[in-house]
């Protein structure tokens, strides 16, 4: 009768053992080490907030060895940091378990969070608590999906991976992006951040120089424009791309590149690195009339 329970128990332990091969210890703060994920040969991703210094970093490997690591870059807006460290061959082959697709993930699915605050791998079990589309973290970063679990983050688990029941990587766990919640930075966002940090040492992002807030449109305008809400411009930075493009206080952004914008997220979607230096066409409501505005996207410094 309890066979099935033993099978379940052992299955969990097997996942931990296998996926644990890609989990390293990251020594980047005084008191307590954090965890990290071997992302590729010689590349480790970890939590930005768990690195309290930029130098004197070390990575502890599953086999017990420790190697020095160098900081490639940080992205505080998604709590991601990238390190270079000499990771042995056997770890890279374990990465073949691969990245999970969040498309088949559902609320209620079992997940395991792994950490290596000491020598041995540690683990905890939970379920997917909430799943959503693209999410804008209070810290400023945009995650391609919202993934929250009921996992209790233990000391040293920050920077460690979340894996599914197949042992595939669901992302990097952090308790620093949203107070009281365990959020997982999904693989697509991780990949994008890693690539940028490797290429530029920092995250390059488009910049307009405008402060906006969601605003409902009056019923009459809603009818005419076919849109119920937009983004009200509450500030325009002097000398900014927005000012140069002719945006003024009180304008309401209706669409960007033809797409309706109702939340900050909608606008942020057009400020990726690939937009820097390129024109963005906006439809804005000004004095009851809709008009077209063109802004050349600048770069956030």
């Amino acid at each position: 009768m309890t066979e099935i329970l033993s099978q379940y128990s052992n299955a969990l332990a097997e996942i931990v053992e296998a996926a644990g091969q890609t989990v390293v210890r990251v020594e980047g703060r005084r008191r307590l080490p954090a965890s990290g994920i071997v992302w590729a040969d010689g590349i480790v991703v970890t939590s930005h907030h768990a690195l309290e210094r930029d130098e004197d970093l070390r990575v502890g490997l599953p086999d017990g060895h420790a190697v020095t690591a160098t900081l490639v870059g940080r992205d505080p807006t998604t709590d991601v940091a990238v390190l270079r460290a000499e990771t042995p061959e056997f770890i890279t082959t374990s990465l073949l378990a691969g990245l999970a697709s969040l498309d088949s993930l559902r609320v209620g699915h079992l997940v395991l969070a792994l950490g290596r605050p000491g020598q041995a791998v540690q683990a905890t079990l939970g379920i997917v608590k909430a799943l959503g589309d693209a999410w804008h973290a209070p810290a400023g970063g945009r995650l391609d999906r919202y993934l929250e679990t009921d996992i209790a983050m233990y000391p040293g688990f920050s920077g460690g991976p979340l894996v599914d029941v197949e042992g595939r990587l669901l992302g990097l766990n952090t308790s620093a992006l949203l107070r009281g919640a365990t959020i997982t930075v999904p693989p697509a966002t991780l990949r994008q951040r890693v690539e940028q940090l490797l290429a530029h040492g920092r995250i390059r992002q488009g910049y307009l120089g405008v402060g906006v807030q969601p605003a409902r449109l009056p019923a009459a305008l809603e009818q005419r424009l076919g849109q119920d809400a937009g983004l009200l411009v509450s500030s325009v930075e002097p000398g900014s791309p927005a000012e140069r493009g002719g945006l003024v206080l009180g304008d309401t952004l209706l669409t960007v590149e033809g797409q309706p914008v109702r939340h900050l997220d909608d606008l942020m979607a057009f400020l990726g690195i690939e937009r820097i230096g390129h024109p963005l066409s906006l439809r804005v409501l000004r004095g009851g009339q809709a008009q077209e505005i063109r802004i050349i996207v600048g770069e956030r410094s």
Binding site: M1, L5, Y8, S9, T124
Partner: protein, 208 residues
Amino acid sequence: MSTLLQELNEAVAEVAERGRRSLVEVRSRGRGVGTGAVWHADGLIVTNAHVVSRGDPRVGLPDGRVLPAKVLAWDPRLDLAALTVEATGLTAMPLGASRSLRPGQWVLALGHPWGVAGAATAGVVIGTGKEWPDAPYGGREWVAVNLPLRPGNSGGPLLDAEGRLVGITTIMAGPRLGLAVPVHLAKAFLRRTLLSPPAATQPKTAIL
């Protein structure tokens, strides 16, 4: 619906039910203060030392009897105590192996949290060993488990998927972080203390 889940449910319930047959409540001065596990059918009970530090321990057996208990051995460093009650034919808890526990393995804690009799909570092994830099008594050897322990759970059994005793739940180190003394240390404690003259192992009486 899923028969897999139904089977899992029944399996968990069975581990809890079997475990309860060897579960005792430790009482002191009219109140429940912790939990214990029947180690031997002839009345040998193992619990935490801190549970019996108040003196005048009594043990509530699965059959409902509440009997006075005598402290045979006491180790405050390990936080273990061995008690004996005048009862025979008790159901001893099967013993498991704590040294082979792996992170991710399923475990069940049984106890009397806040006086609720025979309550069960399930989780997984987070890890084992002596490296717990952020936990109380972090230099000691523990089985760390991701389940919520509460006052009253102290001294209770931690069971594996086969219903065997792998730890004695001792400390609540966080809202969902429990520390248990590995059963191999409990075995060593009993060997050490019960095979030596009783006089050497009497606990100091707690002065209240």
